[in-house]
Each structure stands twice: as C-alpha cells, then as structure tokens.
C-alpha cells in the first residue's frame, strides 16, 4: 500500500505550486499596493476601501449578481421541464437526447457566443423575424436580454444534465408507491419527484451561477463596450489598467460573494430535501 501512497506525492507538490501559491498570490496582492513586482511590499486595505467607498463598483457587483441570478432562474425554469421530459423517455432516446444536449457544450463557448453576435445583429436573423411583427429596429445586441440569452445558452446544459441525473437515478417505484398511496400524477410530482430532484437543481444552480457571475467575454461580445460586469473590471485591471492589486482585491471580493451564495443555496438544499412534503 505504501507504494501506492507514494504515487500521490508528485501531485501534492504540483497542486501546492499550481493551485495554492496562486491563491496566496491573489490574497497577497489584494492586501498590498504599488507595483506588480513581488519585491515592493506595502500591506494595506486601500484596494478594498477603494472598492467599497465607490458606489460604481458596488453597482457593478450588484449588476453582475443580478444578471447571474436572472440567468440562473431562467435556467432552472427552462431546464427543469426539459430534463423532466427527457428523463421520462425510454432509455434509448433518453441517451441520444442527452448526447444531443451535451454536444454543443463541447463546442467552444466563444465560438457559440460569436454566433449569437451574428444572430442578434441589427438587421440580423432575429431583428428580421421581429420586423415581421413591425418591430424592425429593436436593439437586441448590446442589451441585458442579449447578455442573459448568451449566458443561458452557454450554461443551461449544465442545469439540464444535473437535474436529469437526479431524476434519472430516482427509483421509479417511488412514484408507483405515491400513486399506490393515493397521489395522482400532479400530487406525486409535487410531493415526491420535485423534492427528490432538489439536490440536482442545487448543483445545477452552482454550475450556472458560478460562471455567470464571473463571465466577462459574454457581456463584452453581446453587451458591447458599455457592458461592465465584475469580470470585465477584473480583466481591465489586469490586462489594461495593469493594477494587479486592485484586480486581485476585486476577484477576492467576488470569490467571497460566490462562496456566500453557494453556502446559502446549500442550506436551501438541506431544508428542501429534509421536509420536501407540505
């Protein structure tokens, strides 16, 4: 057995370097100012003060959260029925559909987002469709709608898959039991299926919410230059403004926010599945 254990040591070193140190660096930079060279160290809260004393940054953070939440909600509302329908199909078609849904996720997110750019163009496919209803020059690209659409498109498969697995691994005899005990279709769905799929929904939420909050290229491509979310600020700080300290601080704040929201959803999960009925 010892032999086997020793096989993990290289990887432990690896993660120490490739995962732990970067995290430390972020924290380190977040609490220092001046210069991107590790040499000049000045410990301070300046970055955080700057962030929290300025309404704009908070607004940006809130907007990011807002967009992410909307995206997540939409994903649940659309994703659940889809997953449900698929889960109820006979296994063969079931498998095929899951494959069909995963397929696009394998294809480059940027490529797919780029495609939406074209579709949502003024005078593009969508506005042409709209113009049929006399809404010709409705601005779609560069709007919240476009950004949320892009995010939903990119992230909903995760939601569907999560819910689907939770539904698929649910023992069908539970539904028989519910029926047997007098619950008709609707009732047995509400009292058995739904509560039992909550874990799936929750993990789906985490999988959607996480990238949605931090995403920066979807808003940039579909939202246009004026569309600033946390991700964009971070990108800007690192690649344009070159203020790594502030950038780190923001990403740290974002990470914390995410952790909190995850924690909250988890709690919901526990409660939901503990007293699913009533």
């Amino acid at each position: 057995m010892k032999k086997f254990r020793s096989m993990t040591y290289p990887y432990i070193i690896w993660i120490a370097v490739m995962i732990v140190i970067p995290m430390i660096l972020i924290v380190f930079y977040a609490f220092t100012v001046e210069g991107n060279s590790v040499a000049s160290i000045k410990f301070s809260f300046a970055n955080f003060i700057r962030f929290f004393t300025d309404v704009i940054f908070l607004e940006v953070l809130l907007k990011s959260l807002y967009i992410a939440v909307v995206t997540t909600v939409v994903c649940v509302l659309l994703g659940y029925p889809i997953a449900y329908v698929i889960a109820r199909l006979p296994s063969r078609q079931n498998m095929i559909l899951i494959l069909l849904i995963t397929m696009p996720t394998w294809i480059n997110m940027l490529v797919r987002t780029y495609a939406w750019m074209g579709l949502l163009q003024d005078g593009g496919v969508f506005s042409s469709i709209l113009s049929v209803f006399g809404l010709g020059d409705v601005q779609i690209l560069h709007t919240d709608f476009a950004v949320i659409l892009g995010m939903v498109y990119n992230f909903i498969p995760f939601m569907i898959l999560q819910i689907h697995t939770s539904l698929a691994k649910m023992d069908s005899s539970l539904l028989d039991a519910a029926n047997d005990l007098g619950a008709d279709g609707a009732k047995s769905f509400l009292k058995v299926t739904l509560p039992l799929s909550v874990p799936g929904i929750v993990s789906g939420i985490t999988l959607v919410f996480l990238p949605a909050v931090s995403s920066f290229f979807i808003p940039k491509l579909l939202g246009g230059g004026q569309y600033v979310l946390v991700g964009n600020i971070i990108e800007n700080q690192f690649l344009t403004a070159g203020d790594w300290n502030f950038g780190s601080a923001i990403s740290l704040i974002m990470a914390v926010v995410i952790m909190i929201s995850m924690f909250l959803t988890k709690k919901v999960d526990v409660k939901a599945s503990s007293n699913g009925e009533d």
Binding site: V85, P104, L110, Y114, P211, S214, M262
Partner: protein, 262 residues
Amino acid sequence: MEKKKSIPSKIILVLTLLFFYLPIAYIILFSFNDSRSLTKFSGFSLQWYEKMFSDSTMMSAVLYTIIIAVIATAVSTIVGIITAIGLSKSRRIVRNMVEQINNLPVLNPDIVTGIGLLMLFSAFAINKGFMTMLLAHIMFCIPYVMLSVTPKLRSLDPNITDAAMDLGATPFQALYKVIVPQIKPGIVSGALIAFTMSFDDFIISYFVTGNGVQNISILVYTMSKRVNPSINALSTLVIVIITVALGIVNLVPIIREKKKRK
C-alpha cells in the same frame, strides 16, 4: 412506469434542440457565404475557408489548440489516474486535503484561476507562451480526470489489489493489469472531458498566454471586433473536429456492443 411521449413534451424537445443548434447551423451556413455580411446569405462560396487556410495566424492557432489539448489530455489523464489510485489507498486526511484543493479550480471562477496563474508565472519570471499555457491546461484538466476516475475506484472491490498481489503480481502489475482495466470507462470519460476542457478553454488561456501564442478561443475573441467570416469557417472547423471526436467516443462502444451481440 410505461413511458410515452406526449405532444407537449415533443414540442419542448423540438424547441430545445432548435435553441441549441440554431447558432451552430448559423455559423456553418454563413461560413459558406460569399459576402462579408453576417446578416444576409448572398451565395455559396469557399473563399473564407481559403482565407482561413492561407492565414498563418489562424492555422497556428488551430495547431496550438490541438497540440495543447492532446498533450494536456495525455498528461493529465496519466497523472490523474495515478494520483487517484494513490489517494484511494492514502490516509483519509491526505485524501480530503488533496480533494479539497483539487476542487478549488473547479469551484473557482476561471478568471480567478487565470489571474492566479498569470501572477504565478510572472512571479517566477517565466516567459509566457506555449509552456505556460500547457501547464495551465494540465493544471485545470487533472481535477476533472480525477473526478471521473475516483468514483469508479470507490466502486472497486478493495480486496482486488490484494488478490492480484496474492497471485504474485507486483503492486504495479496489479495496478495496470487489474485496476486500470476496470476503471477504463472512467478514464475514457475523464480524458474526453479533459480534452474538450482544454480545447475550448478561453479565459485561463487568455490570461496565461503571451509571445504570440494564441489558441482558437483567444483568436476568435481578438478578431470578433471586425466582421470576419473566416471566423465562421474556423468555427465550422472546430465544430467538425469536436463532432468527429465525440462521434468516435460515443459510437465505438455501441458498435462494439452490436458486434458482441452477433
């Protein structure tokens, strides 16, 4: 019990697939457009493919993407398996610790991972480019491999290695003659995930690359400002590559099955 398709569910499915495949169809269609327009299809032509293939930046981007994806997959798969097996035999504390840390890149937004690595590399004054990108990809691929291998390991009979060794196999023979074959499905899916993760990655690559090394995503991102249908051509290429890869991975087992039955 008896599952049947109702009309509404049919509709839902159709709409879903439409939603998922519209953009892809759009890309493919307009990659054959003979004008620069992204809004109206004025005629069939292959000019954008010619442009793409003659454009060295695009080609090298494709090449880099594939090379990195392949190497990252190979390395992360091997390392992932070895580590996962090692962990399955390790003390609980070690296992938990590693698994916790492992989850960081999965749970962290890519952008955080990206900037972390960016700072790591410049802290060690490593010249950014192919190597840094490759390292980064390996780094974020391994956890996915382990995530798909570990459960398979758990489901293994713990005595199986002992049995093998009892029959005279050295630990490592036991490893590759008994364990690896059994967790093969996990390995395959892990490798597949790793490959696509690497192939599609934008955010992390975007932060850790440099010195003119670009993968397809970065290229698309930097080019997306100007209308440039070669991007559609490129995307179509990507779609084809991925579809083929998936097709192979998914169909081969089915075909084997069929063969077996006969």
